[in-house]
């Protein structure tokens, strides 16, 4: 068990940036998810920690030990690969026993047997131990790969999108199982994923990474409700967050009147928001709001107008895309039992209680309406 400290990790593949200046602290027994789109540098980060890739600059500490000069074998790190990387010539049992039989660990046969059986039972693959890898389903391979990492009892677990090749249902049940398992094991874990739901549900904290740089590290609530940049806000949530440019027309101490989406409207503000808006250089502000917070009305007390562009029923919820007066589209998540005709005129309102304010110049987070900064 150990904490992990990354400082200034940089790795370029030729001219292509793998990661640049990644600094990150992971506490002992913490479960950190690293979230980002494809090619963001997530896997590179894991490979650097595992020692599979050597950094151009920067340093890694696991526990009290600087591991930079150590070979992967000597770091006591276990990794679950996206491709599972099982040894195709071995059986499930041999795969799981392989690390324990290595010259590095070299456990007596009885203990190998006992450990492999223990974790195989825990992962519900004890009936498959004599199977060849080729004869396994994807889910079973995934469990075997997990088992091979678990038997080691390493200081640190690295998981590289372990669930991404499973079908949706299995992925959800494995997610729940992983969550349960992390409680039992209590090992420091870095878990890489491109699925924001996985990142938020599993992680004690989430590190958001894109184009080789860390954008934000925080609790799942922080990254979702107080994204540091527009970029982070866009990465979380499906359908994507709505981002609109608003021109500030006039401001009182308790409300602000803006022109946005082609219409003039106003909403109440707190003194904190007022002082945050004071910091803006121009008269524009960028507003973000989640589709789930948009209210779509019919009876005339909504402030904005539009035309239904598309309507996608998804069961309990439906995604509604609205063409606003200005032509910019707004996504809204509405109740599944409501239906909307395409091209129908509708009214909607932007929730003043859950607006996120961004500086349009720097695209950085200013403030949000219901939560104040520093609040958890």
């Amino acid at each position: 068990m150990a904490s992990i400290h990354l400082s200034g990790l940089t790795k370029f593949y030729g001219k292509r940036r793998g990661v640049e200046d990644v600094s990150l602290q992971v506490g002992d027994q913490e479960f950190l998810t690293v979230f980002g789109p494809a090619g963001a540098g997530k896997t590179t980060t894991l490979n650097l920690i595992a020692g599979i890739v050597t950094p151009d600059r920067g340093s890694i500490r696991i526990g009290e030990k600087t591991v930079d000069p150590l070979e992967p074998a000597d770091r006591n790190v276990a990794m679950v690969f996206e491709s599972y990387a099982l040894y195709p010539q071995f059986t499930v049992y041999q795969n799981m026993a392989f690390p324990l039989r290595s010259p590095k660990h070299c456990l007596p046969a009885a203990e190998v047997e006992q450990r492999v059986r223990h974790f195989a039972t825990m992962l519900k693959i004890d009936h498959l131990l004599e199977r060849q890898i080729q004869a396994l389903s994807n889910g079973q391979r995934q469990r075997t790969a997990l088992g091979r990492a678990l038997v080691r009892r390493p200081d640190v677990f690295l998981m590289d999108e372990p669930l991404s090749h499973l079908d949706a249902k299995l992925r959800h049940s494995m997610r729940a199982e992983l969550k349960e398992m992390r409680g039992q094991l209590g090992t420091t874990t870095i878990y890489v994923t491109h699925d924001y739901l996985e990142a938020m549900s599993l992680g004690d904290r989430v590190a958001v990474i894109n184009q080789g740089r860390i954008l934000q590290v925080g609790t799942p609530e922080e990254v979702y409700f107080q994204p540091t940049t527009v970029e982070v806000a866009k990465l979380f949530g499906d359908p994507e967050i709505n981002l609109i440019e608003a021109k500030i027309r006039s401001r009182q101490s308790t409300s602000v009147r803006v022109q946005a989406l082609g219409e003039d409207w106003s909403f109440p503000i707190t003194p904190e928001i007022g002082s945050a808006l004071d910091k803006l250089t121009g008269e524009n502000v960028q507003l973000g709001f989640r589709p789930a917070d948009v209210t779509v009305g019919v009876n005339g007390n909504s402030s904005l107008h539009g035309v239904v562009y598309s309507f996608e029923p998804l069961g309990t919820k439906s995604v509604l895309t609205i063409d606003s007066v200005a032509g910019q589209r707004v996504r809204a998540l509405v109740d599944g039992h409501r239906t909307f005709q395409v091209d129908r005129r509708i009214e909607f309102s932007v929730p003043s209680a859950s607006l996120i304010f961004f500086d349009p110049e720097s695209t950085r987070y200013l403030i949000r309406s219901t939560r104040t900064e520093g609040e958890d």
Binding site: N47, A50, G51, I52, E71, P72, A73, R75, V77, A78, M79, F81, E82, S83, Y84, A85, L86, Y87, P88, Q89, F98, P99, S102, P103, K104, H105, I133, Q134, R148, R152
Partner: protein
Amino acid sequence: MTQSRSPLAKIGKGLQILLLLAYAVFALFPLLWMFIMSIKPDSQMLTTTFIFTPTLENYATVLHSDYMQFFFNNLIVSVAAVLVSLVVGVPAAYALARFQFKGKEDIAFTILSFRFAPEILVILPLYLIYQRLGLYDTYFGLIWVYQLITLPLLIWILRGFFEDISPDIEAAAQLDGYTWWQVFLRVLLPLVKPGLVAAGLLCFIFAWNSFTFPLLLSNNVQTSTVIALRYLASDTVHYGQVAAAAAISALPEVILALLIQKHLVRGLSFGAVKG
């Protein structure tokens, strides 16, 4: 296939077997012909019927001459050539499959180009160089020049096999506590074994059958392929002895191929290691 017992499927299956049989006869006929020739006396050699008095005289003549010495010469240079190719080629194939380096494709192509340059094109300069260096008529000289035949083949076949193995597997094994060498020996080599066997055998066959190089680059250290020429004199041709010599020469290849048949089929049908 098995549950659909329609007449059409049956006919298709029958046709398939028939075609395969025809091909088997076609492919094996030269071997049979060689064997028949080797047990015919010279006087009946040109009869077109299959009626003749079988004799082992041809074999006796060949085995009592110094032919066997050249047979062993061939064995020594061919086996040694394959071994050298394995020692050099396996790491080369691994490097070409795994590492990104400048001029990688150029190097790979240059290696391959050794294979498609006709031997006769390079034999004269090679002859002169070998004379100067004192490599002419030595085992070492032949083993070295055979690398032109064996090495490209081995490298290119094995490269494909190494490329099929995910680098993640290597990384996983290293994380599991093995050094690079142990990973190579315990994880990678078993995975490329079918390719290794198939490529090794093909290399051996090509080296064994090599004619131009031993003909022109050696004299006393001669191989059986070249020596078989001696039965073709300008006045008489001892077809029976040629056939017997050839039959003896073909034996190592046939035996080897039969011994490693299992790996050979897997090795020649690529992608055997996809997990």
